[in-house]
């Protein structure tokens, strides 16, 4: 095969330039600045700046509320991923079976995906308001639900608010995944096995693994970064700071508390966490997945 090459050594850089410039300004420069902030102490306006070494990291890691946020973030991500993946899968499998009005079901189930997290939060508020919330009234009559006082109840509030939108996202991808499975494989399995449940777990689900793997990563990223809007519009960390995620905590310290050093340190810790999780996933989990 003949290689196409540029005549000048520099032409390719001209083509790359627009992308590189945009990426450097909006991605790399902020990362460099974050590192600079994380290792300096400065006041809100950027004065009194001096090199602080690991001080900001020590400050953050010795802050009890940071550890609370760390714990909550992991619980939150785990529960949301489990709830939204399993419900998304269930709905996708059922919607795939529907023959009449398939597109109507699909459209209705996909809708929530288009809603911004902040709007999801405000919507959830209507359900969980003490004064007029339907779910608040229901849960309150069942076990005295009160998310302003009880951590467990606040968790429920956020789990429902956080996974609702994500169910839609997972639904679309699972549905798409189901439709890529070859008809012949399904038909063959129909002959071999009578139990539809068993067919699902032994044939359909393994074939969906690439989709599932992709969705788990997407959901973890969502739990880490996109839940900010939901928390800011619902509990704001209630009952007493137990429902702050790491991103929310970094926001509070950086933009409300105006401590850019501590917020920068938190961003870097978060970056490392996401990096580690992703490496683990790709090294150990992806190996066990077979792409077609």
């Amino acid at each position: 095969m003949k290689k196409v090459q540029f005549k000048s050594k520099y032409t390719q850089y001209i083509f790359l330039a627009p992308t590189l410039i945009i990426i450097s300004i909006f991605l790399y420069l902020p990362i460099v600045q974050t590192f600079r902030d994380a290792f300096t102490t400065q006041d809100a306006f950027g004065f009194g700046r001096f090199f602080a070494g690991w001080d900001n990291f020590k400050f953050v890691l010795s802050d009890p509320s940071y550890l609370v946020a760390l714990k909550f973030t992991f619980i939150y991500i785990f529960v949301i991923t489990v709830i939204s993946c399993s419900l998304g899968l269930l709905l996708a499998v059922q919607a795939n079976k529907v023959i009449h009005g398939k597109s109507a079901y699909k459209t209705l189930l996909i809708w929530p995906y288009a809603i911004a997290p902040a709007v999801v939060g405000v919507t959830a508020q209507y359900f969980f308001s003490e004064r007029f919330g339907i779910l608040y009234a229901l849960f309150n009559s069942l076990w005295g639900f009160d998310w302003t006082a009880n951590i467990f109840d606040a968790y429920i509030y956020l789990f429902i608010a956080g996974s609702w939108k994500q169910i839609s996202a997972n639904f679309i991808f699972f549905l798409a995944g189901l439709q890529t499975i070859q008809k012949s494989v399904i038909e063959a399995s129909l002959i071999d096995c009578r139990s539809s449940l068993r067919r699902f777990w032994t044939i359909t689900f393994p074939l969906l693994m690439p989709t599932t793997f992709f969705l788990v990563i997407i959901n973890i990223t969502y739990g880490f970064f996109d839940t900010f809007g939901i928390i800011d519009t619902t509990t704001i960390g209630a009952p007493s700071g137990e429902t702050k995620t790491l991103v929310y905590k970094a926001y509070i310290d950086g933009f409300r508390g105006l401590d850019l050093g501590a917020a920068g340190a938190q961003s870097i810790i978060m970056m490392l966490l996401v990096l580690i999780i992703t490496i683990i996933q790709f090294r150990y989990i992806e190996r066990r997945i077979h792409y077609n």
């Binding site: 009194g48 400050f59 302003t148 006082a149 960390g237 007493s240 310290d253 933009f255 409300r256 401590d259």
Partner: protein, 435 residues
């Protein structure tokens, strides 16, 4: 509609001012109020712009107080900051500390240079102290100043047959009766501001070392070392258990809602809330916030102000500062002061405004406006009004993380106070490093 029209006028003026033939001096004023209070700010700018032909003040709303402070800082760092910006009480220490860095021009310095008569004594003492530096020199230009007051639902009190309490002891005597009649006796909207910061001031107690930060940079809060404060929160816990006090989370509005709906007898809120609730179908009065007579020996001390001040930012031209000085003078006039007081419920900040109110007998027609200025002007306090402590927005977060646990019984009062003090000390030390 009126709101849209004022915005249209502001836009129109903006366009006009750009056209070179007019060459008006532009003054940018950023603020952190929204809704009704934001409209009033636009109205003030409009009145000034109409009063003369050379200067145009362009107000820009940035959202909440916190939003405006971070927007101002970001703009300053980018070299694109306004002339004048509104920063709230908890951010006062941050702004005062910026005078030495040349970010903020002090009010008095501005006055000397551009001929505004800035006599600190023209301001009511609580306002004057809060936005001044350690030497008592005024830095911020006092603007919207409120304090926490007690709103009382008179229909409930009448039905139960009790009077408005002036002390917490009196409240304890009537609370059970109110509860028995099927009402919530008490709700309040802000743990840090009302039942922490103002609690200390109301009882003439120091909240931080360094004389509330006015003499020295504070290193710790005195929550766990103040037995009176511990007693108060022990009582609050008791009230909560007995159903005398209901806590609805940290949302300001969530705690106010039962009062608005006529379900709660007393609500502790801001005097600046008056404008927003005066048209509700409840029959209410405004009253001074109660105090523990056992702590003060029967004497009532002033609370301090909340709200915000306007701050002059450095880096613009002489001509623009001269123009800004005219605007500051305009806003500081007794007429504008009283106008703002009347429309919003925020207190008058100048003595001139107070005198004007007396002259025209303002409080006879609007007695509810009187509570906050009266409470602020109480005499005899031996501690400075307010506090000057850095990282305060985050210290408020620490309070929010620990105090609700007192009510749920998860932490004892002493333990919650100790943890808050520890968290606050770290944050204060962090701030002190940057000075």
């Amino acid at each position: 509609m009126k709101f849209i029209r004022t915005k249209a006028v502001a836009l129109f003026l903006l366009f006009f001012s750009i056209s070179p033939s007019f060459a008006k001096t532009e003054i940018h004023w950023w603020y952190g109020n929204s809704g009704f209070l934001g409209d009033v700010i636009i109205e003030i700018a409009k009145r000034f712009n109409e009063s003369q032909d050379d200067i145009v003040v362009i107000p820009t709303g940035k959202g909440s107080y916190e939003d405006n402070l971070s927007a101002t800082i970001a703009a300053y760092r980018a070299g694109d900051h306004p002339h004048y910006t509104q920063v709230y009480d908890a951010g006062a220490a941050i702004m005062v500390a910026q005078v030495k860095n040349g970010v903020v021009i002090g009010f008095e310095e501005m006055g000397e240079k551009y001929g505004i008569d800035v006599n600190a004594d023209n301001y009511i003492p609580q306002v004057k102290n809060f936005y001044a530096d350690a030497d008592g020199k005024m830095i911020g230009v006092p603007f919207n100043s409120s304090t926490c007051i007690m709103y009382a639902n008179m229909d409930i009190l009448k039905k139960v047959g009790v009077d408005v309490p002036t002390t917490y002891e009196e409240f304890e005597e009537i609370a059970q009766k109110i509860k028995d009649a099927g009402y919530i006796p008490l709700v309040q909207s802000h743990d840090p501001w009302i039942w922490t910061e103002n609690f200390f001031s109301r009882h003439n107690l120091l909240m931080t070392d360094g004389n509330n930060g006015f003499d020295d940079v504070p290193t710790k809060t005195l929550f766990s070392e103040t037995p009176e404060f511990i007693t108060h929160w022990t009582k609050v816990k008791e009230w909560h258990d007995k159903g005398w006090y209901a806590y609805k989370g940290r949302g300001w509005g969530d705690n106010q809602a039962p009062f608005n709906a006529g379900e709660a007898a007393f609500w502790f809120g801001s005097s600046g809330s008056f404008g927003g609730i005066k048209d509700l179908p409840i029959n209410f009065t405004t009253n001074q916030i109660p105090y523990w007579s056992s702590i003060t020996g029967g004497k009532a001390y002033p609370t301090f102000i909340g709200g915000a001040a306007n701050w002059i930012l450095n880096g613009h031209t002489e001509e623009e500062y001269a123009a800004l000085a005219k605007f500051i003078k305009f806003m500081g006039s007794p007429e504008m002061d009283l106008y703002y007081h009347n429309t919003t419920g925020y207190t008058v900040v100048t003595k001139g405004g107070g005198q004007l109110a007396e002259t025209i007998n303002f409080y006879r027609t609007s007695p509810y406006h009187k509570t906050a200025p009266e409470q602020l002007n109480l005499e005899g306090a031996t501690i400075p009004g307010g506090y000057r402590a850095g990282n305060w927005p985050q210290i408020r977060e620490v309070i929010y993380e620990n105090f609700p646990k007192i009510l749920t019984g998860e932490l004892s009062v002493e333990e919650a106070m100790k943890r808050t003090d520890e968290g606050a000390s770290k944050l204060l030390a962090q701030f002190a490093k940057t000075l």
